[in-house]
């Protein structure tokens, strides 16, 4: 009995060993020998890319109440195609189709005449209701083919920030704005009909727990607030009509989180019909992609560095002779007036260039240079938009007195508007550098939404220094800016104007071309918003106080009402 049991066991063992060997050999052939071929075959089963229609995730605005509004969506419809050989009565077919959707007559008859050609497309983006009318006609040789295209319901709203999709070679990809920067997240490589449901479950789980939410396909949620965006654009439009600048733009941002509520530019374009734009330069976003000498809005940062270093206070005085000589070159106040003994408060009130230079002399060139670099003015902000430019600080690397003096009031160094608003936000954010960004979350097809991580910036200035400069800027707006007419009785607003001369490519500066800039934040001692406005080469006026102060206060009043911000004084 025992011997029989042992025999049976050995036979069973032998059988299993043989079976295991067979499996191993089979696995060797499957995984090693034919592995690559099976992998390719599996890919085709799991994922089938859509060659032309290029399905993409949506882009959303976020209202102040947290509701999502579409900024870019895929629109589905139909294409009308014909088989020329099957068209019996071309004239009749054209008349029937044209009564429902407009058909290009020339194209139709040219296509209908191509005998032997199996397929010719004659109309695109045909809506579903029109397709429903065409189908029952059963016109011989006429086909309806599924079509989808990118649609921007808000048209011009935030056009440069949203960007658009265009052809790159034979592929449809994002070519400007968020569409370009977030191409990998937005582009959908899967066609839903061919997705393996089990593989999809694992993909969804992977996306939900991934450390990098942007690495998975989905829609993107931005912090752009549609009503705020529209208000800023309408305000800029009015200014543009009055002063005809080359470019005018504005940013509204949360100085603490770096979330951008509005990023507006004029001239603008409609991304649905971008092909009709007269000048392709209008597609780019100078708020991110261009650098400018910003002028006197640099002075509060110079002053903050001086206060932080302990070399000046708001009451420190100096003698203003109207002009000073640095490295053999004369630097004067914008009004060419000598103001005598004045305080640091007056330097901001009257925007005195000699006063800003005085602060830099007190700090020392090396330390001032360190402050400018620590504010990351020569460095990209890392904003989630394409083609970001980095500022040029070359002049303060030369070591000439005149260059440091110029840099103290925003000339000689060139930075992008987004770099500038980030540096200025340090004053509103208790001395900490924020990270400007537009995208706040990724929304997956599974319904899961994941927030995008934003890194916390370093501390540049002490909170007491920024508080001192904030109080100085509030006083400047209440008493000096446009004669104190901008003062809001119950709201403290910190603000500063800037007017810069524009550098000529042949050296020196144009005497008749200026850049106007303006920034402000409120409620000044616990800011919810920081606003930056700029305008390149406005006509008919020289100073930004005359051009951008009123638009700034209009946007401020709108935000106070819209967000129901309580008074702070």
């Amino acid at each position: 009995m025992r011997a029989q049991f042992v025999l049976r066991t050995r036979i069973l063992c032998g059988f299993f060993v043989l079976l295991a060997l067979l499996f191993i050999v089979r696995l060797y052939f499957v995984q090693i020998v034919h592995g690559a071929a099976y992998q390719d075959s599996a890919k085709v089963q799991y994922v089938q890319s859509d060659p032309d229609t290029g399905s993409r995730g949506s882009i959303y605005f976020t209202t102040k109440d947290g509701e999502l509004v579409s900024a870019a969506v895929m629109q589905a419809g139909w294409r009308i195609a014909i088989k020329p050989d099957d068209i019996a009565d071309a004239e009749g077919a054209f008349t029937q189709l044209n009564a429902i959707v407009p058909i290009d007559q020339e194209r139709f008859f040219a296509s209908a005449g191509k005998y032997g050609d199996p397929y010719e497309e004659i109309a695109f983006r045909v809506p579903d209701d029109a397709a429903k009318k065409i189908r029952p006609l059963s016109i011989p040789g006429v086909l309806l083919v599924r079509d989808q295209w990118r649609f921007y319901p808000a048209r011009e709203l935030a056009a440069q920030t949203i960007g658009f999709v265009g052809y790159q070679g034979d592929k449809k990809v994002g070519v400007y704005g968020l569409e370009k920067e977030w191409q990998d997240t937005l582009a959908q490589t899967k066609d839903g009909r061919y997705v393996n449901p089990f593989a999809e479950i694992f993909t969804n789980i992977q996306a939900a727990v991934s450390t990098n939410p942007a690495a998975h396909e989905g829609s993107i949620v931005t912090s752009l607030e549609p009503s705020v965006q529209r208000t800023v654009e309408e305000t800029l439009e009015k200014v543009a009509r009055t002063y005809s600048p080359r470019v005018i733009g504005g940013i509204v941002m949360d100085p603490h989180t770096g979330e951008i509520y509005a990023m507006a530019l004029r001239p603008a374009f409609d991304p649905n019909t971008y092909q009709t734009a007269a000048n392709a330069a209008v597609f780019s976003n100078p708020l991110v992609e261009s650098i400018y000498e910003m002028g006197s809005i640099m002075k509060p940062l110079t002053m903050a560095a001086g206060i932080d270093k302990g070399v000046v206070t708001p009451t420190t005085t100096y003698y203003d002779a109207g002009c000073i000589v640095k490295s053999g070159k004369e630097i004067c106040n914008s009004d060419d007036v000598a103001h005598g003994v004045v305080s640091m408060q007056e330097v901001l009130n009257q925007s005195l260039n000699t006063g800003a230079s005085f602060v830099v002399d007190k700090i020392g060139h090396t330390v001032f240079g360190e402050y400018v670099r620590s504010l990351e003015l020569g460095k990209k902000t890392g904003i989630d938009l394409p083609n970001e430019a980095s500022g040029r600080l070359k002049s303060i690397e030369n070591g000439y007195d005149v260059d440091y003096a110029s840099a103290s009031f925003g000339q000689g160094i060139a930075v992008s508007p987004v770099e500038m608003i980030r540096a200025l936000a340090v004053l509103a954010n208790d001395g900490v550098l924020p990270s400007p960004h537009v995208v706040t979350a990724i929304k997956y097809q599974s319904g899961v939404t994941r927030a995008v991580d934003v890194k916390e910036g370093p501390r540049i200035l002490s909170a007491s220094s920024t508080e001192a400069v904030t109080s100085m800027l509030v006083k400047a707006l209440d008493t000096a800016l446009v004669g104190g007419t901008l003062k809001q009785t119950h709201y403290s607003i910190a603000a500063k104007t800037g007017t810069a001369q524009i550098a000529s490519p042949s050296g020196g500066y144009y005497t008749d071309r200026f850049l106007h800039s303006f920034f402000g934040y409120f409620p000044a001692h616990d800011p919810k918003f920081i606003i930056f406005l700029f305008m390149v080469e406005p006509h008919t006026t020289q100073f930004s106080a005359a051009t951008l102060a009123t638009p700034f206060i209009d946007i401020t009043k709108y935000l106070i009402n819209y967000y129901a911000i309580p008074p702070d004084r």
């Binding site: 509004v69 579409s70 969506v73 629109q75 419809g77 579903d128 989808q148 649609f151 319901p153 997705v195």
Partner: protein
């Protein structure tokens, strides 16, 4: 001689095998049904998607058209001006010369 639990294990394995086969059949058929249902769902999604863009465009047009002036014609009434109450802090509310409380 048969091991005492051999029969039990055999039965258990048989049940397990049947369960696996049934499970396999169920999941394969569910996958097929899923593909069919997904195809229908995608067709519906395409139709709905076609209308989303248009509706969003309409939303932007309408929201842009609502102004304080046109709002009244739509039956809207202006929100009352908010009234904020000023409550002085403890430091400023102490009016007596010395803390005698």
């Amino acid at each position: 001689m048969e091991h005492p639990i051999e029969r039990l294990i055999f039965r258990a394995l048989t049940v397990f095998l049947i369960a696996l086969v049934c499970g396999y059949l169920y999941f394969v058929s569910a996958s097929v049904l899923n593909v069919i249902a997904r195809k229908d769902a995608l067709a519906q999604v395409a139709v709905i998607q076609g209308s989303i863009g248009g509706l969003e465009q309409q939303y932007f047009k309408l929201s842009q058209a609502v102004t304080p002036q046109s709002g009244q014609a739509l039956g809207l009434s202006p929100v009352g001006q908010p009234k904020y109450v000023y409550r002085p802090g403890n430091v400023t509310s102490a009016t007596i010369a010395r803390n005698e409380i």
